[in-house]
Amino acid sequence: MFKKILIANRGEIALRIIRACRELGIRTVAIHSDIDATSLYVRAADERVCVGPADASLSYRNIPNVLSAAEVTGADAIHPGYGFLAENAHFAEVCESIGIKFIGPSSETISLLGDKSKAKELMIKKGIPTMPGSPGELKSEAEALEAAKKVGFPVIIKASAGGGGRGMRVVNKEDELVRAFQSAQAEAKSTFGHDGVYLEKFFIEPRHIEVQILADEKGRVVYLGERDCSIQRRYQKLIEETPSPAVDERLRREIGRVAVEAVRAAHYRNAGTVEFLVDKDHNFYFMEVNTRIQVKHPVTEMVTGIDLIKEQIRVAAGLPLAFRQQDIEIAGHSFECRINAEDPEKFTPCPGLVKKFQPPGGFGVRVDSAMEADTIVSPNYDSMIAKLITHARTREESLARMRRALDEFVIEGIKTTIPLHRRIFNDAEFQKGRVSTGFLERFLAVNPS
């Protein structure tokens, strides 16, 4: 087992990893930018190193400084969390080359799965259902038109190197295609430095369902149920839950089996997530693999009892998976709300001084946060300041518990998404679980606050 782990991240996920390390008896090194020097997660670590100024590209994303910090503190492994360097194949590669264990998949796997069209080609080769669409990157307008006609409108054009909604265009009719193709290419070029785009069938009211997988260094793989992440705005998830109200036992086993196949094809190691689009008829299509721990991992932990961060560390240290597929049971229902320092109506970031921070407590309520009273939410980083997670025996009880917990949560000094969460959890359609990826936009249009 590792003796000392450097956490190449900040905020709640850094604290989450430090907690797991403490429970495993592993020493921790926090890195921080100069403005994060006295943050809670930094104080929680055994050691700390300032790696640069507030600008994340000069500190948290500064590979030489992060690796130097690992070297001077003698850390034998690095946990990247999510964001920053978590899906940076080059970083993983340098870690490998200097003998520091990167807690995640190999740089080759990150590289392969990071290229969406290559990943899709691989899945097609393995017989895994993928989104109907162009077989690879579209070379010309003519090729795009042909592909679109084949899958049928509406279609969506996406950047190969993309993510987060950038470089995407929905095309409803044939005569809109050429313009959309050109502008998607241009945006892909300017955003990602690569103008490769591909095209997929665009589904009306699909669900975003993803499967958590865990693989050890020997290649044993298990799946830990699904997460329903349909409540999103501009591809930013706001609420997640598990089990999905749309997934029954048969579909769970089937989609889980396919997810395991998908990551096996990429020689996957460590924790990962396979994303699927699920249509109304329970057809599911592979979208991509996220090669990192995710923001929403806690809902899976709540229903399985399995500590995913600890398992990441254990398998990275070469230990075999501690359980087989048949040992994994899904018990109860879990929701997660992302509490962002944002205006809950305009979704503009709302950094500033947090005057009071009083998280809810009691049975079935978990708060993952590195926030505390009298601290400043910096405009330099992600606006998520807490994750509020509930667990109960049924979806209905978990929902009531979340309503109660949202009512209890006191954050003063800045605006947060708590009021929006309260409104969504009081919505009849949401309560019934009748949601798709279009829910939130419609909800906001129908329910102006």
Partner: protein, 191 residues
């Protein structure tokens, strides 16, 4: 020895300068520099200290009816926290810190050279060689003051100005972090 890798050179050339306009407090500790603390309750100062610490500020100044309080501190670098009590408040303990009794001296108008990168501080180009500089030496802008080793690369840190080395603030062969003070230079000294 090679100087820093080409890719990162631009950034590293910008050696961090921290002009010190007032008295320098003991690093890593809170220093109360009140012109007259009389009439201000200790508890109120303690509150200000809390405010300073919790909000991660470097300085607070408060003036009222003839009483002026000013609080300053440097932020906590490379440290080891005790388990258990670590979360009660920011720990400002640095293992390889310059002893406190050396700190309180008049440093107004002086310039601190800080480390632009994370790495290991070396005062000489090799274990057998003489240090690049000693306290009391006069240095020129562009003169190499030390090496910070990072990722097996030796990065020479140059002086950004002419002046006298008043104090060497880090220990050779020990780790330094970003923005950690390395040298205190007096630009006005001529000998």
């Amino acid at each position: 020895m090679k100087k820093s890798r080409p890719g990162a050179k631009g950034k590293r050339a910008t050696t961090g300068l921290t002009p010190v306009s007032g008295p320098t407090p003991a690093r890593g500790r809170l220093g109360v520099a009140a012109s007259s603390p009389l009439g201000v309750p200790q508890a109120e100062i303690q509150d200000l200290i809390e405010l300073l610490k919790r909000n991660n500020l470097a300085e607070i100044e408060l003036e009222r009816a003839g009483v002026r309080v000013r609080l300053r501190r440097d932020l906590a670098p490379l440290t080891t926290a005790a388990h258990g009590e670590a979360l009660t408040a920011p720990q400002d303990v640095r293992p390889n810190e310059v002893p406190a009794e050396n700190a309180p001296q008049d440093t107004s108008g002086m310039v601190t050279i800080t480390s632009p990168i994370v790495g290991t501080f070396y005062r000489s180009p090799s274990p057998d060689a003489d240090p690049y500089v000693e306290e009391g030496d006069l240095v020129k802008k562009g003169q190499v003051l030390c090496i910070v080793e990072a990722m097996k690369l030796m990065n020479e840190i140059e002086s950004e100005l002419d002046g006298k080395i008043v104090k060497i603030l880090a220990d050779s062969t020990k780790a330094v972090e970003f923005a950690q003070p390395l040298f205190l230079i007096d630009p006005n000294a001529t000998a």
